[in-house]
């Protein structure tokens, strides 16, 4: 099995999509690692659904507070210029289109940019803020392993898991590659070191648009 990028490299790649001044929602799990890769000189406001814009890094021992946590319930810090607010305002920021970018995990993404990341057969379903995020934030980057633990493709023709939203994903970053979701289908944009377009194709169920430069 081809390794490609590790999680830190994927987080760094995702961080490169963030512009100066952006407000960015980070999903729980792998996306929180993006916090560590913001180039100095950029002011980025990380949004956490539980009511903070301007999340800092994770809190160290001795600086934690039980009422200061992120969406994954981990103790965090905040930056100068941060603000706290209740849940209705937090989701108004998302639903109302005020957040520039969300970076989140996924179980499956379809070639049309449909997303599944909240439940699967036999699983206790949990939705959290995922449906609100995809309904309101225009730019959604999915960060995930290219295949499941047992090697099945997660980038598929049609979702087989229940959808979180339709046509909502704009970019997919996996350990193998970076793809853009376009009107014409999935466009292979970058390959991880040591990964070929053929490797990506064989690990992907949906069809791909592969530019000459990468084939």
């Amino acid at each position: 099995m081809i390794a490609g990028m590790n999680e830190k490299e994927m987080a760094q790649r995702a961080a490169a999509e963030i512009r100066d001044g952006d407000c960015v929602n980070l999903g729980i799990g792998m996306p929180t690692m993006v916090l560590d890769f913001i180039p100095s000189g950029k002011t980025v406001f990380f949004h956490t659904e539980n009511g903070l814009l301007g999340m800092g890094g994770f809190a160290q021992k001795g600086e934690t507070h039980p009422d200061l946590v992120d969406a994954g319930k981990q103790p965090i810090t905040c930056i100068k210029g941060a603000s706290f607010f209740p849940s209705d305002i937090s989701f108004a920021m998302m639903r109302g289109g005020h957040i520039d970018l969300a970076i989140m995990g996924a179980y499956q993404v379809s070639e049309k940019g449909d997303l599944a990341n909240w439940t699967a057969p036999g699983m206790l379903p949990s939705i959290g803020g995922a449906m609100d995020i995809v309904a309101g934030i225009k730019n959604i980057i999915v960060m995930m392993s290219h295949t499941t633990r047992d090697g099945r493709p997660k980038i598929v023709r049609e979702l087989t898991y229940p959808a979180t939203g339709y046509g909502c994903v704009s970019m997919i970053i996996t350990n193998l590659c970076v793809m853009d979701v376009t009107d014409k289908g999935l466009l292979l944009k970058e390959l991880a070191n040591g990964v070929s377009a053929r490797d990506v194709l064989s690990a992907t169920e949906s069809s791909l648009i592969i530019p000459d430069t990468l084939s």
Binding site: T48, E49, N50, G51, L52, A59, K61, G62, T64, H65, P66, D67, L68, V69, K73, P75, F84, F85, P86, S87, D88, S90, F91, M94, R95, T119, M123, L124, P125, S126, I127, G128, G129, A130, M131, D132, A135, G136, P162, A163, T164, G165, Y166
Partner: protein
């Protein structure tokens, strides 16, 4: 000479009956009314419908907050957004012993606010076309699909604030606000526990997050656990 102060959590719950529908503020363990939850557990109230973002929260091998009510079999139904991380809920759910209404988090917040604000229903794109919209009316608005969501109220709201005064004015801190100010508006009886209870006039009226009009009872919480080092 109005004073909404109660001297203990248990006393503030005097009229909470079996079968009550109760909203609990908090996200994970941040901003949960931990003293009111413990008092409700001690009181033995059962067949509760719980409305809360999470049904308790896990830290290491232990579960805290609302989990004690689920574990003790006191809850009939849970309405919220994120139960997965709570093992004691999952066990009851897998055994068919507790009902579940799953609501997207932003829609949950907005439905609760709608009840508090006298809004009869509202349209959102969130969840349109998904399993969670199954029995919901949908509507095309400017070429996009929206679904109709209903207000959500309760018999009681248990909320937690950092500071409060005898009139029920509340101030939150950090991410401890979350659902608390919304739930405070949406229940027939809102009971607030606070870390510091002060006389009216001690809080700056410009920085009050929940005006006392929404709060019927207030008390100083007996004990505040800190779960992180």
């Amino acid at each position: 000479m109005l004073n909404k102060t109660y001297t203990s959590s248990l006393e503030a719950l005097h009229d909470v009956k079996d079968g009550a529908v109760i909203m609990f503020g908090g996200f994970g363990l941040a901003g949960i009314p931990q003293n009111l939850i413990r008092a409700l557990y001690e009181k033995g109230t059962k067949d509760i419908t719980v409305i809360s973002n999470n049904p308790g929260s896990r830290l290491g091998d232990n579960e805290y907050g609302l989990a004690i009510l689920f574990k003790a079999g006191r809850v009939k139904k849970y309405i919220g957004s994120y139960p997965t991380a709570t093992k004691s809920f999952k066990e009851l759910y897998d055994a068919g012993k507790v009902g579940l209404e799953l609501v997207p988090q932003g829609t949950l917040a907005e439905r609760i606010r709608a009840r508090g604000a006298g809004i009869g229903g509202f349209y959102v794109k969130t969840g349109a076309g998904t399993l969670l919209a199954k029995d919901k009316e949908s509507r095309d608005i400017k070429g996009e699909q929206y679904i109709l969501e209903q207000p959500l109220g309760a018999d009681f709201a248990f909320v937690k604030a950092y500071k409060g005064d005898f009139y029920g004015n509340l101030v939150y801190r950090y991410t401890g606000a979350n659902f608390n100010p919304l739930m405070a508006m949406a229940a027939a009886v809102t009971i607030a526990e606070v870390e510091e209870l002060v006389e009216p006039g001690m809080l700056d009226p410009n920085t009050i997050h929940t005006p006392g009009i929404f709060v019927k009872r207030i008390l100083k919480g007996e004990r505040y656990d800190r779960w992180y080092e």
